[in-house]
Symmetry: C2
């Protein structure tokens, strides 16, 4: 590979991706542990039977029906009034992010994110030749106006705020988003991949779209919709931004099948919301339990918890794998991230963690 | 939109995409006119019923099973010996092309294509900040060594040869590909989106992969597999290139559904080949007929024909639409492109064209 004339900044790099190991309990990539229901799967089969005979034709390039459905979902989920013209779907929120950087980034542009955060932002920047900058969060992973001022001082073209943040789970206060909206002239991207897991009553940044044409909120169906395998992410933004994205999107980027599959899940929003409620409760229970065992836990509004701190997190991680539980080594040194699984999976994780760390329950 | 801080080179541009008009006969985007068969659609429903319950999990990031199936298909189709490690699939060949340019292109790199050719190459370059250069084909749309020497003289990093070429249908002689392989040190991409429609016995550039680690052949399932709606394209290349692409691909770029849907169609390769044979015959018949009517026609190895020349092609195009037939205004001034449809659609096109151009059959 080193013989190939690849871009110099890619030489020696490794592809992004969590290590995948075949173990009974996989709590490493923040997947929703509940698969689509038999009723949903039956609707999928029906949908593909309907579109199958017409797959020789290109998809609806503008994905109008799906965009209308996504707008309707967001309107119910976050009490807003968006229309199809506010929505832009793609193959996962990472394609949405790449399109945003192809549009607003580039060799003479820069993006600021807040460390520790999702490591793919740096890769999106590399893919689009955009300068990646980062500002440190407070020690407890929160952000406040002084952190935001540090970001603004870098004079970036794009700011990405992740809320809830990955891998820490931290929720950004809406007043901080409002502060940026008032003080930043560039493009503000709020990555809300895990938004549906935020505590009830917490507002979403989509509530700020109506008055802010340079705000983009990115969401995904991977998590709350149990649809990581379907690869559907979307942006909610002003109609102007949605139109502009079409200058850089690849034509027919979203297949007829993906559009149909996404629309089926959206019909089941209420059913899926029940699972989200259960996962939130499991998360809160696990957070309490971890604290009871004496671990540090970052307050989380997502479907995962970052906990620690370990002198040698790699050893803990490896021993958990030996006990059949796969979690993730990510984020600040010494911390580990565990996705919230089914009640049974979470129990298996607790049991394994106690064994690995030689603690006894209730000590 | 002009108020947004978008990249300067995008200001004033329009999104790529053929105009879509609801008419009875759509021969404008080189779709295969035959939809997937009821047997294939039944297998699709079965496949989605199987994967549906597991869609909460991320896809196989490396798409190993699909890559093995694609290799097997190419081996049979072009009498080669490729393995999964030679194949890289993505959401349409345009995502493959974008990934190749993210890997081998960039601000200090350039690509050469041969005009007239597929207009998306320039867009891929724009999306990846790669300099787009072009060299004119001969007047009859062929390429020869003097044309290739003009391309080499530009010292590009990437050369893209399209065979059969879109929109002209022209096939590149294998000796010209061999000439470039012997004389070009950069990355040579042969875009074979329409390869299955080439005359029987014409070799594919995949026959040159074994000895050329910097050669990439790009194919698609959109055309021969009647799968434009499924969005599956793929590269065949050296294992080194396939590994390197993974540095720039978005993680989990290809959904579980897309992987499964593609594998179903590959099971039906033989059935689909029958339709390709019919379309080839229809193309050759239509070419003869157009010539008999006194039109110029570019020799085509694809599922479309470029014909002309018209003083006002826009008028001919508009009048055809009024007669219920949608074709494409593309390629050199005065020429029009018509996709090969079903025998009935081709007859409708002929009837409409005669009416529009005031010719009588058999004049």
């Amino acid at each position: 590979m080193t013989q190939l004339p690849i871009r110099k900044d890619l030489v020696g790099k490794s592809p992004y991706g969590a290590p995948q190991i075949a173990v009974p309990v996989r709590l490493n990539t923040n997947e929703n542990p509940f698969g689509p229901s038999p009723e949903l799967v039956a609707e999928l089969a029906k949908a593909i039977s309907e579109i199958g005979p017409k797959l020789n034709r290109y998809p609806d390039r503008d994905a109008n029906a799906l965009r209308a459905d996504l707008a309707k979902y967001l309107n119910a989920e976050s009490q807003v009034s968006l229309a199809a013209e506010n929505i832009w779907p793609a193959n996962g929120s990472n394609e949405v992010m790449q399109q945003l950087l192809q549009l607003f980034g580039g060799p003479d542009k820069s993006l600021v994110a807040f460390d520790p955060t999702y490591s793919m932002y740096e890769d999106y920047c590399r893919n689009t030749f955009t300068k990646y900058l980062s500002v440190a969060r407070n020690e407890d992973f929160t952000i406040d106006k002084s952190v935001l001022d540090s970001a603004l001082a870098l004079q970036p073209d794009i700011i990405v705020l992740t809320s809830p943040n990955n891998p820490t789970g931290t929720i950004i206060d809406m007043s901080d988003i409002d502060y940026l909206l008032a003080n930043f002239a560039g493009v503000l991207v709020i990555d809300e991949a895990y938004a549906e897991f935020r505590p009830a009553g917490t507002p979403s940044a989509v509530s700020r779209l109506a008055k802010n044409p340079r705000l983009v909120v990115v969401r995904t169906m991977s998590k709350a919709f149990s649809y990581a395998g379907a690869r559907v992410g979307y942006a909610a933004a002003s109609p102007e931004i949605v139109q502009a994205i079409q200058l850089v999107r690849l034509p027919y980027h979203l297949s007829t099948v993906t559009q149909a599959v996404a629309r089926v899940a959206l019909q089941f929003s209420d059913e899926l919301q029940g699972q989200v409620t259960l996962l939130r409760r499991e998360r809160d229970d696990l957070e309490s339990w971890l604290k009871d065992q004496g671990f540090e836990v970052a307050p989380s509004g997502a479907n995962f918890l970052l906990f620690g701190a370990f002198g040698d997190r790699n050893e803990v991680w490896e021993q958990l794998v030996e006990h059949g539980v796969l979690i993730r080594q990510t984020g600040p040194s010494g911390w580990l991230r565990v996705s919230i699984g089914t009640p049974e999976e979470n129990q298996a994780f607790k049991t394994a963690l106690l064994q690995v760390t030689n603690r006894t329950n209730g000590k």
